[in-house]
Symmetry: C2
Subunit: 480 residues, 2 copies
Amino acid sequence: MSKDKKFVESITSRDVDFPQWYTDICLRAELTDYSSVKGCMILLPGGFAIWENIQKGLDKAFKATGHQNVAMPMFIPESLLQKEKEHVEGFAPEVAWVTHGGANELEEKLAVRPTSEVLFCELYSKIVRSYRDLPKKYNQWVSVVRWEKTTRPFLRTREFYWQEGHTVHETQSDAMEETLLMLDVYTKFLEDYLAIPVIRGEKTAKEKFAGAEKTYTMEAQMYDGKALQAGTSHYFGTGFAEAFNIQYSDRNNELQYAHQTSWGVSTRLIGGLIMVHSDDSGLVLPPRIAPNQLVVIPIAQHKEGVLDKAYELKEQLENDFSVIIDDTDKSPGWKFSEYEMKGIPLRIEIGPRDIENNVCVIVRRDTREKITVDLNNLNSEVTRLLNEIQENLYNTAKERLESRIYDVTSYDEFKNVADNKPGFMRAMWCGKTECEEAIKEETTVTSRCIPFENEQVKLSDKCIYCKEAAETMLIWGKAY
Amino acid sequence: MSKDKKFVESITSRDVDFPQWYTDICLRAELTDYSSVKGCMILLPGGFAIWENIQKGLDKAFKATGHQNVAMPMFIPESLLQKEKEHVEGFAPEVAWVTHGGANELEEKLAVRPTSEVLFCELYSKIVRSYRDLPKKYNQWVSVVRWEKTTRPFLRTREFYWQEGHTVHETQSDAMEETLLMLDVYTKFLEDYLAIPVIRGEKTAKEKFAGAEKTYTMEAQMYDGKALQAGTSHYFGTGFAEAFNIQYSDRNNELQYAHQTSWGVSTRLIGGLIMVHSDDSGLVLPPRIAPNQLVVIPIAQHKEGVLDKAYELKEQLENDFSVIIDDTDKSPGWKFSEYEMKGIPLRIEIGPRDIENNVCVIVRRDTREKITVDLNNLNSEVTRLLNEIQENLYNTAKERLESRIYDVTSYDEFKNVADNKPGFMRAMWCGKTECEEAIKEETTVTSRCIPFENEQVKLSDKCIYCKEAAETMLIWGKAY
């Protein structure tokens, strides 16, 4: 097999140069390509098909929890964007502006949406009158634009695809319930479909969304130990409602401001899939999100009966799985490398001797294990193996995450771990933004969240930076 | 029932003021709403759900014919847009331009895509090398922007949702086959799902797409007799390939320019659904495209057992159909009007006496017919009725279309029909753009297509305008 492996030999090893390995996979697995618009990527069929599966899974969960899809304009008039002060300060520096329509200069310039809170607020202020109109739970699947200076495929691009949910509620507790519900929906999807374990918690004041009262986050750990903010869910209180006059008559016929939320995940999740599961042979995809779960590769396909049998297997497998076949005249070795690069979870090899013995050889993408399978049990064996891969990928990522969270109780220790150990840290914090900023500036490590799961943890009494009384524990990490 | 019908009484009659009736339905059926960005609409849940069903149906057909989805950037650098001369002349006058990113002026201004030919061409020029790479058949579902002066919901808006397929092929005949295949895919979908019959044919040189060699179209006739261009499919020849240098080594190892196509349909189809099927009580939707096919309305729901029975019916129907229930305390009459306005194909009424008799009353949205149905046969009766509605809507539209195509053999007759009879005309034409332009200027009637179905039709020897020798027959109509 090795002599055909030109393809694979030329990608960088993830242990040698992780960023280069990442870029190699993005391009060589044909997920994405550069465009002539600096900082904007093309999603190729392989990349877009993953996004379609993410959409399908999440959209179903959104609808099951009572959300409806809409489409808001991609433009925001400058005056509308400026209505909520914190929000515009957060986003204005990275807005792309449309100033001309055809040959004419516009009377008011238009932002290409960086996010759509203000558009939803404007709509809600028109259609919400009474508590009977509440809640409204809308979502949209669109692309947004943020004029970032440095970009990386999937992780940070000037245009990116995402979904943004925007909801409006009668009471604070309804809105807070929604905020946390959507964090749960995301978490379940990440763990069950993407096989990505996360640490959940609340963002600090410094890190929360511009205009939010509270931001909740899922933080995933990549193979190189860095954090990826995989999705966020925000509780807005009545801040936007006051700025946009979203008022309703309550059950006592008194006017009240409505409570709002928003929440989103993006194509960044594809970057997460790559950086959590993939290896030096290319992409590794969890079976539940893989656009193609199986590839059938005929061996010695010029021999009588081989191609026919291969097509027969494909047809039989198609009843239960997504299957492709490669019947081109390329060598089996080339094909093996090609579909390893593309992350197809199982490869099914069928040759003359296999046919004689009524078996085929199945090779797992995750462990490279070869299994000879009786063709009478093929579909049930494939089901079993796909489930095993899904579980194995999750467990591997989970163990790695858990083994790379370090408790530190002094700033020296913090800096030492930051310099030498990939992973996250847990450390006590006084609650002051100044300490958080100083740590970031001195170490490039940022606060990821105040984790839900560890609310009671008390590693020491003191903030590791200022040594004043600690208020809470924080998770820290270098981040994408 | 009539005393509750405030809701319906306030929409304009389609025979009194068709444009106002149309706008009334768009807003009152809650399909769309105006935004603060002039000319851009909001797709509300009711409108977006129809678009989702259109997407679902067409996307399946695209994939079944070997197409793959991608996502290209929403921006096009000015220099890239200018590479194909006819194309840029066609689109530049209505392009929205991004000139600033954050606080900085861009070095090169960026068009917000009005269509994406040039982006696909640039990609294809990179990834197509050999005949082995062909065909590439990509599609994307996105919104595009054209800075139109006058706009109408769904029919002409500055931003609109659509799909655009872009393919590249080895030979002219492969590309032409694709062009016509996609026209067939569209036609089948329009007829089978949207219940909209169309006339298909080729656009004249004046009306074809900017940069295309041939444009094929589906023309639908609205209730007011006007034409709606419902979708187009273009054969580009090698024009774009030459401008963008899309060359491949052919089977003799010689360099050749590739042949291309593009094809698209948009949210304009929702406008077509309204203007073909709907009536003075509101929206009428064909069951195969309706987001909700059934609404269950309990009658005297305060009486014991009614609500329970209504929920039971809903649950039973959900196995086969998309069903909603309205158990609010609004009056049944209000509910009847509401769901007629929203175009739900069948309403199921269940009250105490019905329960006693083990029946329910089903009311068809299209004919208003009331049918008493034995609850033991409910699902099969509903299936039958939905099929009947689907067929009835198609047949009604088909008969109307066929009865309103007028053959004219002189320009006086042409003008007389144009002024007095809603519908299309068939008339002979010399093939010169000047005649076509003069007719448009003098009558506002435009050429719709040289129809496939009538290639052999010869109404006379002469062009109705210049009276010189006729080259072909054309379909004419006033258009949206």
